[in-house]
Symmetry: C2
Subunit: 301 residues, 2 copies
């Protein structure tokens, strides 16, 4: 039983990187959890997390890690997350609750439904919309989730008690929780996060193709470094996102190529009016996004 002020006694975090480490640290900072067990492949990373006080103890063995957990958070890249599911199915306590922080929801849910069997109803799929371009437990910061959205995508058969506990966890660290169906999540995040990352990676790749990096490198002030900042994110994480939200992201990239083709045509035609309209409308839409974000910031829940 959790003690007073604690929403859960033992939390196991599999994948103590930016997301897992930040959440564990934030919960411990608030005394919201009895004990955090960290699990991952790299002892060095786990040791660093323990030294920073993000976790209480750690093991590289997932079976040992989940044995006593009341709540298990899967916070690895999506592929590793899916590969961990069979271990969970066999070794978690029968009343344990499981949640994840994967950036893709449909394929994770499909895999969980197939693998987890009866425990599936206590699996609460989730995705914190927060991040930095740095990775590993060294990059963890305990205010990472404050005023950020966390999307939970419960299914019809998800246990309401499990959902309530996971919601409480995220609210404890200052997040705003929002429920969404998994397909909408994957489409919306595809457009607002996965596509922009694809584009940033493509810009850097194209610059690399120029074979004149030194000349170009020193001239990258004009927004290039800002625009491509996200291309410094964890490669394995992004590989998995594009693999597991594959059709959606591939379709969005195809659509983006068409949008760019329209822009290219306006330029080749020397269509001043068309370009002006395009840029004005983009500026105006972006201002409305910025205003919506400001409104959110100044109206905490």
């Amino acid at each position: 039983m959790p003690r007073e002020g604690q929403f859960v006694d033992t939390l196991t975090v599999i994948g103590v990187g930016l997301i897992g480490g930040s959440l564990a640290g934030a919960l411990k900072e608030r005394g919201a959890v009895g004990c955090v067990v960290g699990c991952g492949r790299s002892t060095e990373n786990l040791e660093a997390a323990a030294q920073r006080g993000l976790i209480d103890r750690y093991t590289t063995d997932p079976i040992a890690a989940v044995a006593e957990a009341d709540l298990v958070l899967l916070a690895t890249p999506v592929n590793a997350l899916i590969q961990t599911l069979p271990t969970l199915a066999k070794h978690v306590r029968p009343d344990a609750i499981i949640t994840d922080a994967g950036s893709v929801k449909c394929e994770v849910i499909n895999a969980a439904r197939t693998t987890l069997g009866e425990i599936f109803e206590r699996f609460v799929p989730g995705h914190p919309i927060a991040g930095r371009e740095k990775s590993g437990s060294q990059a963890a910061v305990t205010d990472l989730f404050r005023d950020h959205w966390v999307v939970l995508t419960p299914l019809e058969d998800t246990d309401p008690t499990a959902l309530a506990l996971v919601r409480k966890m995220w609210e404890q660290v200052g997040s705003r929780v929002r429920l969404m169906d998994p397909a909408s999540h994957d489409e919306i995040l595809g457009m607002t996060s996965h596509l922009p990352h694809a584009v940033a990676y493509a810009l850097v790749a194209q610059l690399g193709d120029q074979q004149r990096n030194d000349e170009y490198a020193s001239m990258t002030a004009g927004g290039f470094l800002d625009i491509t900042r996200v291309a410094s994110s964890d490669p394995a994480m992004w590989r998995d996102i594009f693999l597991h939200n594959g059709e959606t992201t591939a379709d969005l990239i195809r659509e983006h190529r068409k949008v760019l083709e329209r822009l290219e045509t306006l330029i080749r035609e020397g269509n001043a009016e068309g370009l002006q309209e395009w840029f004005e409308s983009a500026k105006s839409l972006r201002s409305s996004l910025e205003n919506a974000k400001e409104h959110q910031r100044s109206n905490p829940k």
Copy 2:
């Protein structure tokens, strides 16, 4: 004759926006100029610039504005800049020096060569690689150019005295001056600045096409607002850049569409290894760019 500490007596700035206003203000702050005359179409903007102390006096009449100038800086969007050249040709003092801050160099130089006649040798083409996503004299800040590159693209027939004076002007406000041939400038800036802006505008346009802005707008935390920040820049300025660096930017966009097509193919093939390689190589190239930039910052000239 300029007084002690002043590199020039009367400077006329045509286009008192972010760039023109920031430069004028920075020079005045350092006592590097006797008098700054501002010129533009909007009395309101000029009055605001005068009240902020960025300029000493102003007029909306370019003929009056340039009559007494020792140095004229053209700091409007490129199209307006080219349209101002005939007035300069007729009305500047015979010993006046002219420079510009246009983001495109080849077409500006071609127009200047045709229009300016004998004065062309005292025209020093330039481009400060600095900016913000806000525009107008209200957005001007006097440290805008500190530690930023300014590219000057003098021609074979450019007067060395004129070049030296313009170089001195930029160095006074903390810039690093770099000489480049105009075609290289337009290619390099096409890749490092114009293409990224095109991509940002295209991302915003694509989000706008979704017709579900409210749902999408609140989820734009995942880097979208950062990546598209530059799409809030001045539409007229960017219209002119894509018109006047048209072939280069259109070719870069076509190339970018091909890079995206390669990425799309890797995703559709489910090519984990290919994606991993792609993202690792982009992360590594971007780190080297970031390091180069840090090296510049920590080694001021």
